[in-house]
C-alpha cells in the first residue's frame, strides 16, 4: 500500500513539473533545458526556510516567488537567442546553478545535502503520513492543471502558441513577443518551483545530486512522450515514465543486479528519446490539428 501511495505522489509531483515545462516548451516553443534549476530553487528555498523554523505557508510562498524571480532573471538575457542556442544556454544555466548548490556549502551544505526537512504544516494540519501527502499533491496538481488550462485557453495562451508557430507574423500583428516569452518562462518557473517544494518536503532530503542532467532528460522525456502542447500530455507522460522508474526502483532483485538497474533504466530513457524524435515527435497524445 505504501508503494502504491508513493507512486502516485511522485506521479503528481512530476505532472506539475512537466506541465510547467510544457507551457514553455510545448505551447511557447521555448526549449528550456535548464528548467530543473527552478525546481531546485523552489526546493532548496523551501527546505532552507523550513529548516530554520519558518512556517511552511510562508516558505512556500517565498519559494514560488524565488523560482519565478530567477526565471525572470534568466529569461531576459537568454530569450534573445535562437531556439537551439537557447536550449544550450539554459542547459548551461542549469548546470551552473547545480554547481552553486554544490559549492556554497555554507548555504546548502553542498554535497552532504540537507537532511530532516520537515513535513508541511498548513492551517495547523500536518501532512505527515502518505495518504495525507497524496491528498496534498493531488490537490495541487488539480489546481495547477486548472490554472494552466485557463491560461492556455485565454488570449495569452493563443499568443504563446502564435509565438511558437511564427514569431515574425505575430510581431507584425503588433504583439511584443519578447514580453510574452518572459511571461511564459516566469509562469513556468513558478510552477516548477511548486513541484520542487512538494518534492523536497516529501523526500525530506535534498542534495545537489538531485538536480543533474538525468532529471532534465527525465522531464524532457515526460513532456515529449506525453505529447507536448497538449493539456493531458504531461500527465500521461508522467504516469508512464514515473510509474516505470519508481517501480523499477522498488523491485526486489538480487543485490548483485542492483547496480545494473539504474544505468539500464537510463539507457532505456535515452533510447526512448531517440526513438521518439525519429518516429513520433508528437508523443502519445497528439495536439489537435496535428494529425499525421
Amino acid at each position: 500500500m505504501d508503494l502504491f501511495l508513493h507512486l502516485w505522489i511522485m506521479i503528481f509531483i512530476y505532472s506539475i513539473f512537466a506541465m510547467s515545462l510544457n507551457l514553455e516548451m510545448g505551447y511557447t516553443g521555448l526549449f528550456n533545458f535548464g528548467h530543473i534549476a527552478f525546481f531546485g530553487i523552489g526546493a532548496y528555498t523551501s527546505a532552507l526556510l523550513t529548516l530554520h523554523q519558518i512556517p511552511f505557508a510562508l516558505a512556500f510562498v517565498v519559494a514560488l516567488v524565488a523560482s519565478g524571480f530567477f526565471g525572470f532573471l534568466l529569461s531576459i538575457p537568454s530569450l534573445r537567442l535562437r531556439g537551439d542556442y537557447f536550449g544550450i544556454a539554459t542547459l548551461g544555466f542549469g548546470e551552473i546553478l547545480r554547481m552553486v548548490f554544490q559549492n556554497e556549502v555554507w548555504l546548502t551544505k553542498g554535497p552532504m545535502g540537507l537532511p530532516g526537512i520537515p513535513k508541511p504544516i498548513l492551517f495547523s494540519y500536518r501532512f505527515a503520513t502518505l495518504p495525507q501527502y497524496l491528498l496534498l499533491t493531488m490537490g495541487l496538481t488539480i489546481v495547477t492543471f486548472l490554472i494552466l488550462r485557463i491560461i492556455i485557453r485565454s488570449p495569452l495562451g493563443r499568443t504563446l502558441r502564435g509565438i511558437r508557430e511564427d514569431e515574425i507574423v505575430l510581431m507584425a500583428l503588433g504583439k511584443n513577443a519578447f514580453h510574452f516569452k518572459i511571461k511564459s518562462v516566469v509562469i513556468g518557473s513558478v510552477f516548477a518551483g511548486l513541484a520542487g517544494v512538494l518534492w523536497t518536503h516529501y523526500t525530506t532530503f535534498i542534495s545537489p545530486g538531485d538536480f543533474t542532467l538525468s532529471e532534465t532528460i527525465l522531464v524532457l522525456l515526460i513532456v515529449v512522450l506525453g505529447g507536448k502542447g497538449t493539456e493531458w500530455g504531461p500527465l500521461m507522460g508522467a504516469f508512464v515514465l514515473i510509474f516505470f522508474q519508481e517501480s523499477l526502483r522498488f523491485l526486489k532483485l538480487p543485490t548483485e543486479w542492483g547496480r545494473y538497474l539504474a544505468p539500464l533504466q537510463q539507457m532505456i530513457f535515452g533510447g526512448l528519446l531517440i526513438f521518439l524524435m525519429i518516429y513520433r515527435p508528437e508523443g502519445l497524445i497528439r495536439e489537435k490539428g496535428e494529425g499525421r
Partner: protein
C-alpha cells in the same frame, strides 16, 4: 612564482586536450550544421575502449590496443550518424539536439553499465616527473603535447592538402552547390565523422592518461569543447584549437583566485557568457 608557472603549464596541457575535442566537434558542425551533443560520449568511449583492449581478456600493449580503440570509436561515430542523425537530416536543429541528448544519455549509461561508476585508471606505473624551470612534468604529459601536435599536423594536411579536405570545406559552405559540382556528399559526411571520432578518441585517451576514467568524463568536456568553438567561431577549426587552449588556461589560472570547486563551471560560465554576448549566434550565420 613556480605556482603560477605550474598552473600555466597545466592550463596548456588541458588546453591541448580541449583543443582536440573542440576541433572534432566543430568539424561536424561545419558540415552538418548542428552541435553533436553526444560528442562527449565519443570522447569517453574512446578512452574506455582503450581500457577494454588493454585489460581482460585481450591484454594488448598500449600501441596495439590503440588500433581497435580508434576503430571502434570511429564505428560508434559513424553509427550515431547513420542510425539517428541521418533520418533526422531534414528536421530542425532542436530535434537534432534532443536526439543527440538521448544518444549521449544512452551511451553514458551504457558505459556505466559495463564498467560501473567508479574511477578507473589505465594502471601504468607511477613515476616521478621531471622538474624543468620549476615546473614538474611527467612523461605522460609530454606525450599529450606531442600527440596533440601530431594530430594538428594531420588535420592540417587533411583539410588543406587533400582532395577530401577540399570537399569537406565545399560541403560545409554550400551543400547543394557542392553536390552539383559532383562532390559525393555522403562520402564527405562519412569522412567528417571519421575524423571527428578519431580526434575525440585520441583526446579522450590522453585525458584518461592524465587523470582517470569515469563515465561522466564526456559530458563535462563536451561543454568545454562547446565553449571553445564558440570562442573561436563556430565552424572554424583553427579557432577551435585556440579556443580550447584558452579555456584550458582560463580554468587553471582562475583557480588561483576562486574556489577549486568552481573550476569546471568556468567553461560553463564562459559558454553562457559567449552565447549571450556574441551577436552572430543570434541569427545563426556560419563563419
Amino acid at each position: 612564482m613556480s605556482y603560477i608557472l605550474q598552473s600555466i603549464f597545466n592550463g596548456l596541457l588541458a588546453g591541448c586536450i580541449y583543443a582536440l575535442f573542440a576541433m572534432g566537434l566543430t568539424m561536424v558542425y561545419r558540415v552538418l550544421n548542428f552541435v553533436n551533443f553526444a560528442h562527449g560520449e565519443l570522447i569517453m568511449w574512446g578512452a574506455y575502449l582503450l581500457y577494454l583492449f588493454m585489460g581482460d581478456p585481450f591484454h594488448f600493449p598500449l600501441y596495439v590496443a590503440l588500433i581497435p580503440a580508434l576503430g571502434f570509436t570511429i564505428l560508434l561515430g559513424l553509427g550515431m550518424d547513420w542510425i539517428v542523425f541521418k533520418p533526422l537530416r531534414r528536421t530542425n536543429r532542436l530535434t537534432l539536439l534532443i536526439a543527440a541528448l538521448g544518444i549521449s544519455f544512452f551511451l553514458r549509461n551504457g558505459a556505466q553499465l559495463f564498467w560501473g561508476a567508479e574511477l578507473r585508471t589505465y594502471g601504468f606505473e607511477i613515476k616521478r616527473g621531471w622538474r624543468l624551470f620549476h615546473i614538474s612534468m611527467t612523461a605522460n604529459q609530454m606525450a599529450i603535447i606531442l600527440a596533440t601536435l601530431g594530430c594538428i599536423i594531420i588535420v592540417y594536411l587533411l583539410l588543406y592538402r587533400s582532395i577530401i579536405g577540399k570537399a569537406m570545406r565545399a560541403v560545409s559552405d554550400n551543400l547543394e552547390l557542392a553536390r552539383v559540382t559532383g562532390i559525393n556528399a555522403k562520402k564527405t559526411i562519412r569522412f567528417t565523422w571519421i575524423i571527428s571520432s578519431a580526434l575525440a578518441c585520441v583526446g579522450g585517451i590522453l585525458l584518461a592518461l592524465d587523470t582517470n576514467l569515469q563515465p561522466g568524463m564526456g559530458m563535462i568536456n563536451l561543454v568545454k569543447a562547446f565553449a571553445a568553438i564558440l570562442l573561436g567561431g563556430v565552424g572554424n577549426v583553427w579557432g577551435a584549437l585556440w579556443g580550447g587552449i584558452f579555456i584550458g588556461l582560463a580554468e587553471n589560472l582562475s583557480v588561483l583566485f576562486i574556489s577549486t570547486g568552481y573550476k569546471d563551471s568556468i567553461a560553463f560560465g564562459m559558454m553562457v557568457l559567449l552565447l549571450l554576448l556574441r551577436p552572430r549566434v543570434l541569427y545563426g550565420s556560419q563563419e
